[in-house]
Symmetry: C2
Subunit: 327 residues, 2 copies
């Protein structure tokens, strides 16, 4: 398996991306295609003792980079950006999957343009695991603000396939995000989607799901429009960060409170790990015909390593073929 890695995009690019790529190579054995400025990649590999004449490492030059501030059309305007070059390699089957920690909107736009939507699918989605005890796949996490019942139904199927293959869950429970559990809740689209999902035999639909119950593992896949999904994602991030900060402030108060923190340091570390989405290895674009993983913008080497692992699995488990069959 060959994973194409956009080396130049992301807050900690290129160093952490390169470090993560090589960690993945060592640990998982997939060959890697590094896309970015030749001289930067070559200097890194030389300085860190990696031998790029090894068959498992390819380097493809790209002199430009799409920044986080660029609008999504940079994917077309900056033809020589590492992200665009990487996507073209993927589209030309010069690699099996792609990982980028760059501009999400640009990667999504590029994914749809270069990898193209799976036939029959109305919209590609950005899906991401919410960092709770049991992984919860949120789809759509922010790509599609406007949806209808067709689109929501397709999100449900795609999310169900992804979770089933990636996590080995036989019949992932699919919930529809709503303001209450009664089937009458929400707007017309949600009521319509509720009927569709109830009738759809390809998924294990558990009904409307309230935001309050999400941390408690009530479902494995949460279906919603991109606006609501993005709020769920961002609020979870903000609230978890805030609560850990409040705890940290308490521990910093005096030596006695500091002791309190020290006693449960391993447990707190474990708890923080649960809330760290990067453990799940990035967000898949679902609905495009080639595997693309969006790693968090602030990904460090470990997060990139995990993203490469997940990108390989996305490919290995034939998820795209399965989605194409069911939609």
């Amino acid at each position: 398996m060959n994973i194409i890695i956009d080396v130049m995009s992301g807050d900690n690019a290129p160093d952490e991306i390169l470090k993560g790529a090589f960690l993945a190579l060592e640990e998982y054995g997939h060959s890697i295609t590094l896309v970015g400025k030749n001289e930067i990649i070559n200097r890194y590999t030389y300085e860190n003792g990696f031998d790029i004449s090894r068959g498992e490492i390819s380097v493809v030059n790209a002199d430009d980079v799409i920044t986080m501030e660029d609008d999504p059309f940079a994917i077309k305007n900056k033809k020589d950006s590492s992200m665009t070059v990487a996507l073209k390699l993927l589209a030309d089957s010069k690699g099996d999957a792609l990982v980028s920690a760059g501009n999400t909107a640009a990667l999504y736009t590029g994914g749809v343009i270069y990898a193209s939507r799976i036939k029959g699918l109305r919209k590609a989605a950005l899906a991401t695991f919410l960092p709770f005890e049991k992984p919860l796949l949120l789809i759509d996490a922010g790509a599609n603000i406007a949806v209808n019942e067709d689109i929501l139904e397709q999100f449900a199927v795609m999310g169900s396939v992804y979770v089933s293959r990636m996590l080995g869950i036989e019949a992932p429970r699919v919930g529809l995000l709503n303001n209450g559990t009664e089937h009458t809740k929400g707007n017309d689209i949600l009521r319509s989607a509720h009927k569709r999902l109830t009738k759809n035999t390809k998924i294990n639909f558990i009904g409307n799901t309230e935001a309050k119950s999400l941390p408690y593992g009530v479902c494995d896949v949460l279906v919603t429009d991109g606006f609501s999904g993005n709020i769920v994602l961002k609020l979870t991030e903000g609230l978890c960060g805030y609560m850990f900060k409040k705890l940290k402030d308490i521990y910093a108060k005096n030596p006695v409170t500091k002791l309190s923190g020290a006693i449960i340091r391993p447990e707190l570390k474990e708890m923080k790990k649960v809330f760290n989405a990067s453990e799940y290895g990035g967000a898949p674009l679902l609905g495009v015909s080639r595997p693309i993983i969006k790693a968090h913008g602030s990904s460090d080497a470990t997060a990139i390593k995990n993203a490469v692992r997940v990108a390989a699995a996305y490919c290995e488990y034939d998820i795209i073929a399965e989605i194409a069959k069911l939609t």
Copy 2:
């Protein structure tokens, strides 16, 4: 001031509602009109040594009750429910403000029917304080799923007036909930609302606000549609509860971790208090012509006491007149 209290609605009615009502009477001095089954109220007051011949206490009988499972039209169908009777008293100026811990949708519907919308306002809203360090008023918290830029602008003005008067903040910062801070974010309605709020000289608009930043006090009023608002409210509740539960599990592990919890028990108690929305005394209906406070369904006596205090202030600070002037 006379506060009308729906005694029979809520998970802990009637005892905790009555207890809270009398706590409020003792502490704040406002007279109270207790609406519910005569015999229940009379028995409670007798058993607890209250003298209902005192001028400050009135009792109005209502034999029926709207349950949490009833649909909102119960407000008309159950004419003799404590909530409906209470609303009619308010509409007839037999009291200055109303407090109910009952069915939110029914109270909202009844508020609009009996108290009627302020002239010129398109929609009444349910507003509630999010339990962060600095109080953040969320408007709309779940009453209006469908909105447009007019409605969002009116929410902004109402929320701003409420926070300004109730919290004494001179120019409350108003944020518009969106998927990013750039003015181009969101759908057409949000882009349009952004323009309106920017031009509106009656409010201190700080721009689009991401969910991630909400706990950090970036704004005093958060404007959004009822669907998104309800997700923010419920997810906050769910996540905070979940994190406290995780901490509790850690402390329960063994005597050593238990010590960790014991050391910072006062600080944790304080932290829990911050996250306890009932400290803010309930959610106001904004945009109706009489003051109505919706107390949390699970309100205990303290929460009811706080709700009565807030209902009185809602009246005293002439918030309705101020809203009517500005919209």
